[in-house]
């Protein structure tokens, strides 16, 4: 799935432990859920101050998937 690769690419660029990044995609009819797992030391790097980075990731992931007309949800698992 292209959007998973897209998300994986961003997360791997942000974190210090790219080998520990895992993404699980749950596809529904109207929405797609991306469950993201990173090393515990990297959680701050994907969330950011007051969630700024997580928000930016959601925004561009939404743009990437917009063509399919689906909604996305990005869950960061601790």
């Amino acid at each position: 799935m292209k959007e998973k690769e897209f998300l994986l690419y961003i997360i791997k660029a942000l974190v210090d432990e790219p080998d520990e990044v895992e993404i699980n995609v749950v596809e529904g009819e109207k929405s797609t859920i991306f469950e993201l797992k990173v090393a515990s030391s990297d959680i701050g790097k994907v969330i950011g101050k007051s969630g700024r980075i997580a928000k930016a990731i959601r925004t561009i992931l939404n743009a990437a998937i917009a063509r399919s007309g689906k909604r996305i949800s990005l869950d960061i698992l601790g």
């Binding site: 292209k2 897209f6 994986l8 961003i10 930016a56 925004t59 561009i60 743009a63 063509r67």
Partner: protein, 211 residues
Amino acid sequence: MEIMEYEGKTERDAIKKAAEDLGIESDKLNIEVISEKTKFFSFGNLVKIRVFLDEKHDDPVKKADRFLTGLFETIGIDITTQIVEDANKILVEIISDSSGLIIGKRGKTLEALQLLTNIIVNKNEKDWKKVVLDIENYRDRRENTLRELANKVASKVKKTGKPQLLEPMNPFERRVIHMTLQNDPQVATKSEGAGNLKKVKVFLKKRNNRR
């Protein structure tokens, strides 16, 4: 650490190639010569060098280009970049057929992309280098739109006497509104709210009872 290999007719030639390709000055490269030119049978023999790349020494322009190009490759969007670097800023002009998608509604996607590119380019760097992304002159066009909006709202305030509150804007956008109206004798501007996105209020200046 990343390792790259380069070849050249001479050692100097190979180093020059590496420096150009990586965008790093040749004296800052960490190099090991693998195959040296033999003195007598040197015809057609190339010198091979190995360059050890520390992420810290990686050129920010290369990093920005690599991140953006690689990112859009994953979803099959072709982009090219034109990058200008000055003392503390990198200006990246993105060229693509999918500019609408990359800009997003009111520039939301472009802003998000800019934030992420800034973080990734400056990761592990001592000095923060600001990355500014632009596409099809979006920033200039947005600035013009905002100036027009500021003037339109100002005349409405003058006509009705009632203050107007604009939609939430980022610091760059608010600055354009403030600057456009700063010399207007009749109206004043003020940002309201908290966080990155604030609303600008445009209101009549009080003429008689100034504090």
